[in-house]
Amino acid sequence: MTTITAAEHANAPVASTRKRKPIKGSRSSTTTALLMLAPAAVLLITFLLIPIGLTFGLAFTNARLISPRPAEFVGVDNFTRLFDDETFWASLRNTIIFAVVIVPVQSACALGLALLVNVKMRGVNFFRTVYFLPVVTSMVVVSMLWLFLYQPNGLINQALARFGIQGPDWLGDPKTALLAIILMSAWQAMGFHMVIWLSGLQTIPGELYEAAELDGADRWQQFRYVTWPGLRATRTFILITITISAFALFTQVNIMTQGGPLDSTSTLVLMAVRTGFQQQQTGYASAISLAFFVLVLAVTLVNRHFTRDKDVVR
């Protein structure tokens, strides 16, 4: 390889006097490499690759979490049952609504935050830190806290009452429960995506803005023609990550509503946990997990497809 030849040139006199094994490809190098790789490889195979395979395999069996009898192959029974299950359709619908609402709202607001803190100004670090605080607070704690804020007579409704607004029973009403969870989730994760937008913004060279200003571009035009095109890679990344984490919605729902009222906040992961853990039906839960996985895969592939198209168009 190139590095070896470079080194051989550099160390030519030394190399010729010493007996030296070639760096790459020798048997002992390969042995060392495999030994160093082994712990991670064994762990990844046991706890990642085998479970991925099991998700596919168990979905076609009647496996139970704790059962003396071995799992039996049952064909597509789990899937026919799934498609007849109203909770599944409600969960799928909620999961998709959650993603469809939170992806644009959260990414746009996070970009707004990033633009606000991407300026030279005294105290800007303080603002960044405060906006980021919810990110380092665990979702479990955030859910507990907002469960209290969302009480019918809680802080939020009391604040609304000051403006003469009668706040709803946020989590108790099927019409507002999912919305309440969306607002809270966006609040928690916005700082995370702010930082990622910020790192994207800082890859845009300052000269571009100077040139745009010389050409008489106003702030909006600068954003439209300099900032926005410069954030293309960041945008793709943010869309994919928010979407996938939105599909995995579980913690907030489990703590705040347990899927209720009337399945209005049930999600795919919540349903998988219910069936696979509480009811111990691993086979059925694997079928739900598989449906979830297909959703994630579809979004990733669609996103790849579209971003690739854009590359060609440009």
Binding site: T30, A40, L43, T137, L201, Q202, T203, G206, F277
Partner: protein
């Protein structure tokens, strides 16, 4: 030295986010811009309230009796330590659940996973990035491909699988990992994303260093331990933080895999605490105690935290 200025985690700009210069030029402060500037500052302050006040409310409420929390809700007093302030809620938490035990469990699980994760994942990345072997490219490809699989899709099959695994411990061979420490630690040590982060960093350190060390008679393991790892501080910090946060916050997995009270981590503990308790003051005290360690670490290592999150932006 060239190695210390090697592009951290792919791109140089990430290393300076916390104090990076703005890309946008500054606007003048006179006339119309002056008003706009003022409005901008007010907006930023308002947003600070949006993101900061709920947390302030949590901390302040943890020191108040329940009745007073509700009384203060309607006014600014909700965010101020007024009235009868005491640590009663905190002692109440310790009186109702083995909080110290929960805390110790979380510390053990998090610290062991972070430390072993750094060792195991960096060794794997070193083998792939610097030693290299036939088929290494395929191994790296498989590792990267698994990045799109969210843990939630595997959780239920993994639960079933963990219940079947044998374990060789001090008491001999036992079957089934549920309700143990190891089930909360071992599945999370090897991490595809950590390997990827280390790989990128190791790849950016000049390979000539290896050659020079080889000439001096160092073996690969020696190069890993004495040359590459000491130069990889930023990568180690990033992996440590990106392992620490999700491990400390872990909820779904221990909720299912651990039933024994003495083995519970803090996040599952608070859920359980809430179910046997309707005192919001105590819940806020519990929430404050499990958030404080992370907040303190965040304030102390702010720049590393923010840079780690930013570098996770290369994931995808």
């Amino acid at each position: 030295m060239s190695a210390t200025t090697a592009p951290g985690l792919g791109s140089d700009h990430l290393a300076h986010i916390a104090d990076a210069p703005p890309a946008e030029p500054r606007r003048g402060g006179e006339g119309r811009h002056g008003i706009r500037h003022l409005l901008g500052i007010l907006l930023r302050i308002a947003l600070c309230l949006v993101f900061g006040l709920p947390l302030l409310f949590m901390i302040v409420s943890s020191f108040k009796p329940d009745l007073q929390i509700f009384d203060d809700l309607g006014s600014i007093k909700a965010f101020l330590p007024t009235g009868s302030i005491s640590a009663d809620n905190y002692t109440g938490v310790f009186g109702r659940v083995p909080f110290a035990q929960f805390m110790m469990n979380s510390v053990i699980i998090t610290v062991v996973t972070v430390v072993l994760g750094i060792v195991v994942n960096s060794m794997a990345a070193f083998a792939l990035a610097r030693i290299g072997f036939k088929g290494g490219g395929i191994v790296l490809g498989i590792i990267l491909a698994t990045l799109i699989v969210p843990f939630e899709t595997l959780a239920l099959p993994l639960l079933w699988w963990s219940n079947k695994l044998p374990f060789i411990g001090p008491d001999g061979i036992s079957e089934g990992w549920l309700d143990t420490y190891q089930v909360q630690i071992i599945p999370f040590i090897a991490n595809a994303f950590s390997i990827f982060l280390f790989y990128q960093y190791f790849d950016s350190i000049p390979k000539e260093l290896d050659e020079a060390a080889k000439v001096d008679g160092a073996g690969w393991f020696r190069i890993y331990r004495s040359i590459v790892m000491p130069l990889s501080g930023p990568a180690i910090a990033t992996v440590a933080i990106l392992t620490f946060l999700p491990m400390w916050n872990q909820y779904l997995w221990p909720l299912m895999a651990v039933q024994t009270e003495e083995l519970r981590p803090v996040m599952v503990g608070i859920d359980y605490f809430k179910q046997l308790n309707t005192s919001w003051g105590q819940i806020m005290a519990y929430a404050t105690m499990i958030t404080a360690p992370v907040l303190i670490l965040f304030i102390a290592f702010q720049r590393s935290f923010i840079n780690s999150i930013a570098s996770s932006g290369v994931k995808g």
